[in-house]
């Protein structure tokens, strides 16, 4: 399953940003609109890397599907950064 939301939180000792829930699924709209261009780019990459277009699509899809569940939290010197992909 591809990512639906990304949660981003940034906090510094002097400033705090509320946690942002970014609707990543909305990116499908520009992706679909630009799908012919994206397909051409994928074909060019597949030719350059000497792999089949299907294998390339499988790899890209694998990366997209693997993203949900990613969690990165860093807290240092009073600052915090949180990125979660749901």
């Amino acid at each position: 399953m591809t990512p639906n939301f990304a949660v981003v939180g940034i906090q510094t000792p002097t400033w705090r940003c509320p946690r942002l829930w970014l609707p990543v699924f909305l990116l499908w709209i520009p992706v679909i609109l630009h799908s012919p261009l994206i397909f051409l780019v994928l074909v060019a990459v597949a030719i350059a890397a000497r792999v089949t277009i299907w294998k390339l699509i499988a790899i890209v899809w694998g990366i997209l599907s693997g993203l949900p569940g990613t969690h990165v939290y860093v807290h240092a010197e009073g600052s915090q950064v949180l990125v979660r992909i749901l």
Binding site: I59, G62, L67, H71, V72
Partner: protein, 144 residues
């Protein structure tokens, strides 16, 4: 008679394997848990496959504590390894050379998803504690 055992004995009879090899093969299948026609016994422990790779770093410095908590889905790691297959062979060689120059004797072309799976199996619960002179830093890498 067990099907595997019968096959080994047939191979021994046909001269395809020596008696010592057949003995080792039989010993190997005896070590395996008995198969029950594809149905897992309720008593047999089920090994849950790890879903995430976790990296936890805790450090206490003068400026305050530093915490890093990273969780990477294993699926993403596998996809990343497959992505490495897109790197041209020439670039592989250059990368290998550059890595070995920096003391990392790694052959990228040999890293395959099955190798990664093997590595992850051995990474079940690895804890690395690094104690600096003044700072107390703890690094933990494990799968969950």
């Amino acid at each position: 008679m067990n099907e595997n055992r019968r096959q080994i004995l047939e191979m021994l009879a046909a001269g395809k394997v020596t008696a010592e090899e057949a003995d080792r093969l039989i010993a190997a299948i005896e070590d395996q848990p008995p198969a029950t026609n594809g149905v897992r016994s309720q008593d047999a422990p089920t090994k849950n496959k790890a879903k995430y790779l976790r990296v936890l770093v805790e450090s206490h410095e003068k400026d305050g504590p530093t915490t890093v908590n990273v969780r990477v889905p294993m699926q993403l790691l596998y996809a990343g390894v497959r992505l490495a297959s897109l790197i041209p062979a020439k670039a592989h060689n250059q990368l290998d050379e550059a890595l070995s120059k920096h003391g990392v004797p790694l052959t990228l072309s040999q890293i395959k998803p099955e190798n990664l799976e093997e590595l992850i199996d051995h990474l079940e619960d690895l804890t690395v504690d690094v104690d600096a002179k003044e700072d107390n830093t703890k690094v933990r890498v494990f799968c969950e």
